[in-house]
Amino acid sequence: MKLILPPGVSRARFEQALKAFASVVGPEWVLATDEDRETYLDVYSPGRDTSHAASAAVAPASVEQVQALLKIANEFRIPLWPISRGKNFGYGGAAPRMAGTVMLDMGRMNRIIEVNDKLGYCILEPGVGFFDLWEHLKSNKIALQLGIPGNGWGSVVGNALERGFSPAGDHSNNICGLEIVLPNGEVVRTGMGAMGDGKAWPLFKHGFGPSWDQMVVQGNLAIVTKLCLWMKPADEAAISIEIKLPKPSDLQWCVEALAPLRLQGVIDGLVRLTSYQASATVPTLRNQWYQGSDSIPDDVIAQMMQRMNVGWWNGPLRLAGFSDVCEANLKRVLERLAKFTKQEFPVTRMRGDAQPGPTTYPLQMVNWYGGRGGHIGYSPVMPADPKLVQEQFERTRRRYQQFGLDYSGTFYIDGRAATNVNLILYSKDDEEQKQRVRQLFEALIKDAREQGYGEYRTHLSYMDNVAASYDFNRNALLKLNERVKDAIDPNGIIAPGRNGIWPKAYRAHRGVL
């Protein structure tokens, strides 16, 4: 990728800044060749790769180096985009929002600082991956559970800071204390860590006064150098109930049946209901089922379900905890389901620590059209109301059909809210199809806004659209975020444009792709 300079920075100034960065981290950790820039592109982007092209990357190894780099970035007005491991696939990968931004690659800061099985937490640096932490737990026989997202290649810290989630729930809810470096280089510890040697840093979330952890999550006020994360002790037993529903309309009664049990705590994790398509995209190619360029029609879907032995909606429902409690909860779940259907659901009992480890297997879905593929996720949050969930599904599926794309949706039902993750797969080399993908995405944002639903997370290219949809009192929250941004980061050097929050130095870039 050819060099795109940071806005307003001359080539000579840019080279000077890189030299200054190199004096901090060593020349081998300033990456600025065309090939280096290529490695930070969003390979799955639905738009132009140049929209989110980095100009260089710099990789610190310590908090002191992060401080020194921020000083230089302020002096030379170089915007930095921090990444933990850069595996935010479907949302922009390792790329920055604004072209020309320098990546602050935190991958070298990869220490597992502490894992405490008695009190159930770990303290991590950003470069620690799910595989690393998993191996650490297994090789040290630590009986703690790890909430693992679909793509286990990424960073535990980065995932929590993006509000990633798994059936165990929203991982950012488990954050309990951060060490952050502010744009002026000051190091702050949040919560109980604000006390020098604060003993309850990873144990009690709020400390004294306002809580800052969530100010940093999905934001751009600081660089996170350590994160304390709660982990749940391993369960004694687990029960998996195989939910396999034959009709698209079964979604409504299933939500009606299960959402109250989730709210009451009978079901411990999120209830996940995934459409048939997810069973096909990982192990098969689209042309094995259908050659048309429109959305896969119902008769083919019926064949797919039959051949793969899956339902229209699928999801293992997991109950975990002490085995007698699991059995009692199983009875409640089956009784509740029996009120709505005569269908039987196979039950599998297993040890509570028989949790599958991290995997990258789901990434295979991007191969759906063969050749170079891409994926993007559209994920609005809505009430866990059966009728509204059914309507959301039907409205969304109609949009996929309108734009000739294959519907692939999952509803994660929490007690109160439901998160509807919609996956859009495409061929990277089909410009016409990518155009339809972008049209679909914009239509979905508009539809959700009309219903009063908003996305919990989005791709770089849609951050401004989604931020705009949070429009109470003429986007008062966005304006507040930007006032805080300007106060804390007057030169706007940290992650300009992240989640639609633009510092004054780069505000003209809002909406620019």
Binding site: W29, T39, K87, T359, T360, Q364, N367, G371
Partner: protein, 112 residues
């Protein structure tokens, strides 16, 4: 005990016990395990996609004897079909050299 032996036999290729590896190749094997193994060992997504494209015999990179240094370097940095790219923070140049040494190591001739 029998189970243990079977497990050891299965683990041998991964542990480097089956072959005498040089220090650089052994280091490269560690790089492979840490940076590539999650997709390119048995059951990984890279192995699956390669099997679909080239057949099962070509799907496990550690068993391939036809990998060229330049191809490895290119694919790591530029990706291939759906494989994301790995930066020089993730696989620094010295690690890349070790990885190449491992994946292109001369193999003992196959038994007749």
């Amino acid at each position: 005990m029998k189970q243990l032996l079977v497990l050891l036999a299965l683990a041998m290729p991964a542990l480097g016990l089956a072959e005498d590896l040089s220090a650089s190749q052994l280091a490269g094997q560690k790089v492979f395990a840490h940076r590539c193994g999650m997709c390119h060992r048995e059951g990984g997504t890279g192995t699956f996609v390669l099997a679909r494209r080239l057949g099962a015999a070509q799907s496990l990179l550690e068993q391939r004897t036809d990998l060229q240094p330049e191809t490895i370097r290119y694919v790591v940095r530029w990706g291939l079909t759906n494989m994301p790219r790995l930066s020089r923070v993730e696989v620094p140049d010295p690690d890349m050299n070790q990885l190449v040494a491992y994946l292109t190591r001369p193999r003992p001739a196959a038994a007749p």
